[in-house]
């Protein structure tokens, strides 16, 4: 076991080099301002920076915006809408990147209270993407006087933006010499803007990586300095290509320096309530985590083996739900052999759940940093599953190497994993071959080819240029080239709305098919994770039950993004007596904690229904934002058949007993009829049934959400929510009677 106390510290950055880099900066604009102190979680100020003309504006946030949008993702979407128009594309100068931490973010008493939300119009989906990220930037931005930052325009050359929340300065500087890869750039800027070693923890950097200039799958890294290891840690706003937009604006990095984090910088209404809930939470983690998920030891990767047991772990591009090689990457393997134990691995102060694990002094075997020993953040479950079994890989060494390079190049591990799995299946089916991939033999489990493709993506070379498109554009390109049957490509490309699926197989859970398909941004599981409730527990058997779950959970989980919270402390640990409650799946005591925290910070009492209402306002706003940009209707919620059922004969045959039985139990054939059917007939009957179930699910979910059968929020529902804003009505009114 690797223990924190035995670890050597990482080497310091070369300060001479850093000095030279700093001297090469040219300040394009610097403004001073008086940081507005927080009051009850808010500063009510918005910072707007346009890098075309280097203008900096500090603008009041009106009370009405606060009431309707709350903060976090709500603010991000509101100001993204205002910055853009129906013709805005991801690379239009007016496309904004908005970041906001939400009113609860920055308290240090409770776990998971440092999240920042990031939105932009995505190069992958052409609609708003939202991503939730740890690291210190979100809270530091608040402490520096801003509830939200909005970045627009395009710089001519690479710039960095530096906010100093103590001095009250904002500067935009040309920064030509710094490296682009995140693990180095993060170190350089942290060392550059810290006054001394002790001050490094007060610097937060947002940056992408060298792939971001040409790769649609690019994300943003958010750093925090880890004093014990003497290294800059990287957390990711991963989904939807936000890093590509950042690089397109020629923003190399965004830095926030703030010294003086303490317990009550939010100037909360009643700190006693917050302290009380915080203590209760920490006690619960201390006594329950080892008995429940062991998040402190294995991080979120704890679930890999169990998900394989339940046929949910995506394997070979979601063909199967598990692998008999899963023990090679079981939780105890990560725990005993790779992940450092005993570190305070919270991605914000006060998170005792501490799931942000690292593999330390990891020796790289490929790529530009071959031979270097580095700190790898992760792997989180999604990275391990996507980079691993989904591509036929179970070797932790390879998964960590892929994880490291994705992070430093600025590539989203989830999209990369799912996209590579798609490419491998294309290769296995002759849609791709060595000639088309420039020699990369992308067969299942070929780690060498996988890593080489990743390096090519970062260098913008060879097949890496095609990989950089993402699965949606790849499938269109392959079809255009006459490589493979377009229908088959549509079936196996696990993307929807342009975004790659996250890492759960959902063939046996209709509710989760909706949990992915009926999302605003595309198939990410953060809105609803219903597989157990549906597939295993059979708690939501009817369409009505599933619709209720697909109403409640997305709204409930949206709330975390409005407030600046991490979702994991809600249900990856539960009170010891949670089983005794009426609805253990909702973890009622934790929901009450959140209501308390909201009251303790803002001074406003809300109940569970209010919580859902707050989310619904923003959720419907986002849906209409999608419609404004030409998506957001029923047809856009269609999903690839691979997520619904067996596409290939080998898939059907691998679970033949189950599928045959379902033809009797669910579709209505007799046993004798099934016995006489050919494999093709059985597959066709299964497909007809499953596709029609999904349509019935949509018919049940949309009205529950207050939408027409075409997926458009009704005027009456918007009125009920107080969201009958003229700009929304203008879009939805003409669509009220349009049939799907």
């Amino acid at each position: 076991m690797i223990r924190m106390c035995d670890l050597p510290r990482y080497a310091d950055a070369d300060m001479e080099e850093i000095k030279k880099m700093k001297e090469a900066h040219e300040v394009l604009n610097q403004v001073t301002y008086d940081p507005t102190p927080l009051h009850r979680g808010y500063t009510d100020k918005r910072l707007k920076i346009d890098v075309t003309d280097n203008s900096v504006s500090i603008i009041d946030i009106p009370q009405e915006v606060k009431e309707k949008f709350t903060g976090g993702k709500g603010y991000c979407l509101r100001y993204l809408w205002d910055a853009t128009n129906p013709d805005t594309k991801w690379n239009s100068p007016e496309n904004a990147i908005t970041m906001s931490a939400g009113p609860i973010a920055g308290i240090t008493q409770y776990g998971g209270t440092g999240k920042c939300l990031v939105c932009t119009i995505s190069p992958m989906t052409d609609i708003p993407i939202d991503s939730n990220v740890g690291g210190y930037f979100g809270p530091f931005l608040k402490f520096s006087g801003f509830d939200v930052i909005e970045l627009t325009g395009k710089a001519k050359e690479d710039v960095i933006i530096v906010i100093d929340g103590n001095k009250g300065t904002i500067s935009i500087e040309k920064a030509p010499l710094e490296h682009k890869d995140a693990h180095i750039l993060g170190e350089e800027l942290t060392a550059m803007y810290a006054e001394d070693e002790n001050d490094r923890k007060n610097v937060a950097v947002v940056c992408s990586g060298s792939a971001a200039e040409h790769c649609n799958l690019s994300m943003l890294n958010f750093t925090f300095y880890d004093p014990k290891r003497n290294v800059v840690r990287l957390k990711q706003a991963g989904r939807g290509g936000i890093g590509r937009v950042f690089a397109d604006k020629h923003i190399k990095a965004l830095v926030c320096h703030f010294r003086g984090v303490k317990a009550n910088l939010n100037d909360v209404y009643d700190i006693k309530i917050i302290n009380k809930d915080g203590l209760k939470f920490h006690r619960e983690v201390a006594t329950q985590d080892d008995k429940q998920n062991s998040m402190r030891k294995s991080g979120t990767a704890y679930s890999i083996r169990t998900l394989s047991d339940y046929d949910i772990l995506p394997t070979h591009n979601y063909k199967y739900g598990g692998t008999d090689k899963v023990d090679e990457m079981a939780p105890e393997v990560w725990r005993e052999k790779w992940l450092t134990q005993g570190g305070a691995d919270g991605c914000w102060y006060g998170c005792s759940m501490a799931c942000a694990k690292t593999a330390d002094h990891f020796l790289l075997k490929t790529g530009p940093y071959k031979g270097h020993r580095v700190c790898v953040d992760g792997p989180e479950y999604e990275s391990a599953a996507g980079l691993g079994p989904n591509c036929g890989i179970t070797d932790p060494q390879v998964i960590l190497e892929l994880n490291f390079y994705c992070d430093t190049y600025g590539i989203d591990t989830i999209s990369y994993g799912t996209m590579t799995a798609f490419l491998m299946e294309c290769y296995e089916n002759g849609i791709l071959n060595k000639e088309r991939t420039g020699g990369l033999e992308l067969v299942w489990g070929n780690a060498e080819a996988d890593l080489e493709m990743l390096h090519q993506m970062a260098r913008n070379e060879g097949f890496g240029k095609i990989a950089a498109l993402g699965a949606h554009k790849q499938k269109l390109y392959f079809a255009e080239q006459g490589w493979g049957d377009p229908a088959f490509l549509n079936d196996i490309a696990m993307e929807q709305k342009g975004l790659e699926y996250s890492e759960y197989g959902c063939k046996e859970s209709l509710a989760q098919q909706g949990g992915y398909g009926l999302t605003n941004k595309g198939p990410q599981h953060d809105e609803a994770w219903l597989i157990f409730m549906d597939q295993v527990n059979n708690q939501i058997p009817t369409f009505e039950d599933k619709a209720e779950a697909l109403y409640y959970y997305p709204m409930f989980r949206t709330w975390f993004g409005l407030l600046g919270l991490c979702k994991l402390p809600w249900n990856d640990i539960v009170p010891a007596d949670n089983s005794l409650t009426d609805e253990p799946a909702k973890v009622p005591e934790h929901v009450d904690n959140y209501l308390d925290l909201y009251y303790g910070v803002t001074g406003t009492k809300i109940d569970r229904d209010d919580m859902i209402r707050m989310s619904e306002r923003v959720y419907n706003f986002q849906r209409i934002f999608n419609i404004r940009l030409g998506k957001g209707l029923r047809k856009n919620d269609a999903i690839p058949y691979r997520s619904q059922g067996p596409v290939t004969e080998e898939e059907y045959l691998s679970r033949q007993e189950r599928y045959d039985r379902q033809l009797v139990d669910l579709v209505g054939y007799t046993r004798e009829e099934v016995e006489k059917m050919t494999l093709k007939e059985k597959m066709a009957a299964t497909r007809r049934h499953r596709e029609s179930e999904y349509e019935k699910l949509i018919d049940a979910v949309y009205p529950k959400r207050g939408w027409t059968l075409n997926g458009v929020p009704t005027v009456a529902h918007l009125k009920e929510l107080g969201m009958d804003l003229p700009e929304l009505l203008e879009i939805v009114e003409p669509l009220q009677d349009v049939q799907p």
């Binding site: 527990n537 059979n538 539960v574 973890v587």
Partner: protein, 65 residues
């Protein structure tokens, strides 16, 4: 016997809750178990013997994501 509202075909004399879990390969760490509506704590999974007409619920609490 029913498991999660579905008929459970593998009931036999002396079957315990642990036996069902092993048979079903239920390895998830956060479970809520009830027999005929009555909560069973983990320390009793080996002891509780199931009858042929029991209504067993083994609910997995979501996690992840």
């Amino acid at each position: 016997m029913k498991l999660n509202n579905r008929p459970y075909a593998d009931w036999h004399e002396g079957l315990t809750i642990r036996g069902v879990m092993e048979h079903m390969n239920f390895t998830w760490p956060k479970l809520v178990v009830k027999v005929n509506g009555q909560l069973i704590w983990p320390e009793d999974y080996d002891k509780v013997v199931l009858n042929e007409d029991d209504d067993l619920k083994i609910h997995h609490l979501l996690g992840g994501g």
